[in-house]
Amino acid sequence: MMRDDLIEIAYLVAAFCFILGLRWLSSPRTARKGNLVAAVGMLIAIVATLVDGRVVGYTWIAIAAFVGGSIGALVARRVQMTAMPQLVALLNGLGGGAAALIAVSEYHVAGAAGEERLGAVLAVSVMFSAIVGSISFAGSLVAFGKLQELLPGRPITWPAQKLLNGLGAVVVLGLAAYASFNINDPLLWLAAVLALLLGVSAVLPIGGADMPVVIAFLNACTGLAAAATGFALGNSLLIIAGVLVGASGTLLTQLMSKAMNRSVANVLFGAFGGGGGSSSGVSASGEALPVLEISASDLAAQLVYARRVMIVPGYGLAVAQAQHPVRELADLLIERGVSVAFAIHPVAGRMPGHMNVLLAEADVPYDQLLEMEEANPDFPQTDIVLVIGANDVVNPAARDDENSPLYGMPILEVDNAENVIVFKRSMASGFAGVENMLFHDPKTRMLFGDARKSLTQLVQDVQAV
C-alpha cells in the first residue's frame, strides 16, 4: 500500500516537527520559529489525513474546519494577554471534547458493525478518551467560567462533595466497563454525561488561586485523551502528540503545585483559598499593627540614588494595567545608571509564566526577567524592592510561621533587601486570604493607591529629580 506508507511517513515528519518545535521553545530566541515548525507539522498531518483512502466525503469536513478554524483564529487574535488563561482553558476544553466525541463515534461504529463487545485495547482506549475527554471538556469550561468571572472564583462547595465525586467516579467506571462488554450507545452516552458532571463538580470547589494548577492538569488530561484516541484509531501520530502534551501538562502541574508547596491532590481536592484568613492586621494582643507610608516623591528620590532595584510584579499589576508605566520607570532608572531587574515568582499571574508574557507585551526585554531561584540570592544586595500587586508570593509567613496556610511555599525573599516598598490599593489580604506581616516590617513602606496612578506619578517624580 504505497499511499498508506506515504501517510505514515508524513505522520513521522509531523511528529518530528512537534518535537523540534517544543525543543526550540527552550529559548526565547528560537521559540517563535519552533511554534511555526509545529504548525507546519500540523498542516502536514492534516493534509496526509485528508488523502487517506478511508476519507471519502469532504463537504462536512471543509465546512466544520472552516467554521472552527475561523472562530479559533478570531478569538486568538482578539484576546487580551491578561485573558490568556481563559483562552488556554477554553481551547483545552475543545480538544478534550473532540477526543470524547471521537470515542463516542468509534463506539457507535463498532456497534453498527454488529459487534457485541469491544476488544480489550479498543475498550480501554475508547472508554479512557470518552471519560477523560468529557471531564477535561467540562472541567475546562468551568475553569474558563471562573477565570472569566462568569462564575465566582471562590471555592464552591456542598455537603459530602468528595464522597459524591468519588461515588460518581465509581459509577462512571462501572458503566464504562459494562458498556465495553455490552455495546449499546445510550450506555456510553450516560457514562459521558456523568463524566461531564464529574468534571463540573471536580473543578467548582477549586479556588481561583489554584487555577494555574488546574489548567495544567486539564491540559495533561486532554493530551492523554488524545493519545487514547490514537490507540482506538490505530494512529501513531495521535499517540505521540497526545503523550507529548500529557508529559508537558504533568510536568507543569507538578511544578506549579511545588511552587505553592501543595500536593497535586491537595489542590484538586482541597477547596483552598478565599475566606481562610483569620487575623487581619491585628497583633496577638488585639492591637492594630503599625503600617508606615511613603510618598511617590520621596520614593523617587530614593530610587534615583539606589544602585540596585528589584521589581516584584504580581497579578495586581496587570489588573491595574500598570505594565507600561512600570517599564517606563525601569527604563528611566536604567538611564540613570541604576541596575533594575524583575523578579518573577512561578505562580505570579493566573497561569505558569503569565507574568512574563504580560511584561513582554509591555516591551520589557526578557533579559531583565529573573526567575525566583535567580532573584533570591540577589535580594541581600538589593537597595530597594518594589512589590507591585503581589502579596502571597512575598509573604514571609510562608518561611517563618508554621501555622500559616502558606507555610512551606517557596517565596521571593524580599525582606532580605535593604528597603521594601509595597504598592497596594488597600490593606486587604491576598488571593489566598492570608495576612502578610511583610507590610508591618520596619523596613517596609507602603505606597497606597491604584498601582497605575502611583507608577505614573512616580515616573513624573523621577523625571523631575
Binding site: G21, L25, S27, R29, R32, A38, A39, M42, T49, R54, V56, W60, I61, A65, V67, G68, G69, S70, G72, V79, M81, M84, L87, V88, L91, N92, L94, G95, G97, A98, L101, S105, H108, A112, V121, D185, N219, T222, G230, L233, N235, L238, I239, I240, A241, V243, L244, V245, A247, S248, G349, P352, H354, N356, A360, P365, Y366, D367, Q368, E371
Partner: protein, 101 residues
C-alpha cells in the same frame, strides 16, 4: 499496528516529551501551554477520519462535525495565540547583556 508497537511509541514519546519540556524556561511556560494546547488539537486528525469515513450514519456525522470544528478551533487558535505571545519576547536592544534564558 500492533499493541506492542503502539506501547513502544507511547513510552518513547513520553520520554522525549519529558526531556524536551523540562528544558523550557519558566519564562516561556505560558506559550508552552498554549503551544502544547495547539498540538493536542491533533485530535482533528482522528475527527477527520471519523467524519470522512462516516457513511451517512447520523451519530458519526454529528460527532464528526462537532469534533472537526472543535479540533480546528483548538489548532488554529492555539498556534495563532502562541505566535502572538512569542513575537513580544524581545531582548534589550542596546548594549547586549548576557542572556539569562
Amino acid at each position: 499496528m500492533s499493541l506492542i508497537t503502539e506501547l513502544v511509541i507511547l513510552v518513547l514519546a513520553a520520554w522525549v516529551g519529558i526531556e524536551v519540556i523540562s528544558k523550557v524556561p519558566q519564562m516561556l511556560h505560558t506559550p508552552l501551554m498554549s503551544g502544547t494546547n495547539a498540538i493536542h488539537g491533533v485530535v482533528i486528525v482522528g475527527a477527520i477520519l471519523v467524519l470522512g469515513a462516516a457513511a451517512g450514519g447520523t451519530v458519526e456525522t454529528i460527532c464528526g462535525i462537532v469534533a472537526v470544528a472543535f479540533g480546528a478551533a483548538n489548532v488554529v487558535g492555539g498556534f495563532v495565540v502562541t505566535d502572538r505571545m512569542l513575537q513580544m519576547f524581545r531582548r534589550r536592544p542596546e548594549p547586549p547583556k548576557e542572556n539569562q534564558g
